[in-house]
Symmetry: C2
Subunit: 291 residues, 2 copies
């Protein structure tokens, strides 16, 4: 996905949100704005928004002197862990546990660095479980799971990863060998190894990191070790808009990538003909699009 003109106001919103979370003073807030403006002078609009926001958040962390999302990541994990038993029982009581797990994993994708309350998440779970998906390749995903022993699972945000955990536990129950991938270091509210530990994912399967602080999965910036595993993977479950933005045009016919996410911004929602917040199970082989 290339940068859209409506991404630019959003870049500033991201630096404002980071300043809010870090509770920095007015001088630092203005510095964050001016640095965002400076970075825009050198922007490469042929790349994805994720490329730019990776640079932007590196600069934000430098200016603030620490990761502004550190506290909220811990908070989101804690809130979501309180939902764990409820999520398990939703799956256990469902007629089609795999489909329910897909939809729960998508509903967790609502947990981003905006507002997040118990009310929001319960409403989102209900809506995502019963509502329609803008793209629904759940049947293809189930077929791919039936014919593959190994699954690579690309995580997205903290908090959300508890929803992924119940899905991953189901995959393990049905005999799959799952490798979970987290970010190599801090970027926005994305999950890193410490979040996988905090939410118990390291206890249930192998977890690796991608060696990068990129938004989404910008392959050329990830570590050689991760690239090797990614290239060898036959079935990948990719969570979140950032991973979709950076991998939707990955053109490897030997690989099935399933993108489970909610569209969270106007430009992407417009391209995908979705309402903002629309839910997706897209498939790299069927829904390959050059955006």
């Amino acid at each position: 996905m290339k940068i859209d003109y409506y991404c630019f106001p959003c870049f500033f919103k991201q630096s404002i949100i980071a300043g809010n979370l870090a509770k920095v003073d007015d001088n630092i807030r203005l510095k964050l704005i001016k640095e965002t403006a400076k970075l825009i002078n050198d922007i490469d609009i042929t790349k994805s928004p994720a490329h730019f926001t990776t640079f932007l958040h590196r600069r934000i962390r430098e200016i603030i002197g620490r990761d502004p999302f550190e506290d909220i990541k811990r908070e989101y994990n804690a809130i979501s862990l309180n939902l764990y038993e409820e999520l398990k029982s939703i799956i256990n009581n469902s007629k089609n546990s795999l489909n329910t797990a897909y939809r729960l994993a998508i509903s967790g994708n609502i947990i981003d660095f905006g507002i997040f309350t118990h009310i929001d998440i319960h409403e989102t779970i209900q809506n995502t479980l019963s509502g329609s998906l803008t793209i629904d390749r759940s049947q293809e995903l189930t077929e791919a799971l039936m014919s593959n022993q190994k699954v690579m699972y690309l995580l997205d945000n903290t908090g959300e990863i508890v929803f992924d955990r119940v899905f991953i536990e189901l995959l393990i129950e049905i005999g799959k060998e799952v490798t979970v991938v987290v970010k190599g270091s801090n970027i926005i509210n994305d999950a890193t190894m410490s979040d996988a530990i905090d939410t118990g994912i390291t206890n249930i399967c192998r977890v690796i990191d991608n060696g990068s602080d990129c938004v989404g999965t910008i392959l050329e910036w990830t570590s050689p070790d991760f690239q090797k595993e990614f290239n060898e993977a036959k079935l990948i479950i990719s969570k979140g808009q950032g991973n979709f933005e950076t991998l939707h045009d990955h053109n490897d016919k030997k690989k099935d990538i399933f993108f489970l996410f909610k569209s969270k911004c106007k430009p992407l929602s417009k391209i995908l003909k979705a309402t903002k917040g629309g839910s997706f199970i897209a498939h790299s082989k069927k829904d390959y699009i050059y955006l």
Copy 2:
């Protein structure tokens, strides 16, 4: 009103909207974004957003090579002129015609460079006529009108000025000597002399221009002729958020300024404790605030 951090995303939205309206190509669109970013590097945040957007829209017009709002201004005037008879009959059929005229003038303030349809405007008229005002100095405005022969009326947007016309006609009917003020040259969708001519305002009273292309009324940038009239005016009716932004802290105890407007942005709505789109009749002597 000083610049808020949430103004920055909006500055970019303004350059995007200008590009959309002018239907410029992708190179020019990117140039508009980059120039907005460059201007932010030199921003003076102790001034109002209106100061910055004046510079911004000058640069936008330079880059595009013409006024991007030219066509939409004409369109808004034409749509509003079709409402003229209806607006007159609302006033004629009301029990308190002055109060109705105040509220109609405020409802016209919804006509900005966003979406504008007949449905929106009829709904806005009904809501503004019957709903509550966040600040309501209508009684003080009526008293000021009863004790002043002369009224200076600062116009805001095209389209909206037809709503102002029916108010001004009522002021003339009750014997007031009205001087209407338009912008000295093009700025966003604000009314200039040609709009006053197109909507028949020049036929009903004296119309002068403020000699400037500023957003709102930035007094030091207006012409000496206008400044003289402004300084001598005892009663001023000021329309729109831009005029409120730039004149709300005008500290002249010999003058009554009444601000009739809808708050259209989050930062201002937050400061004024209003919902976005909240309606106001504020009074310089009672509602003087340093924002």
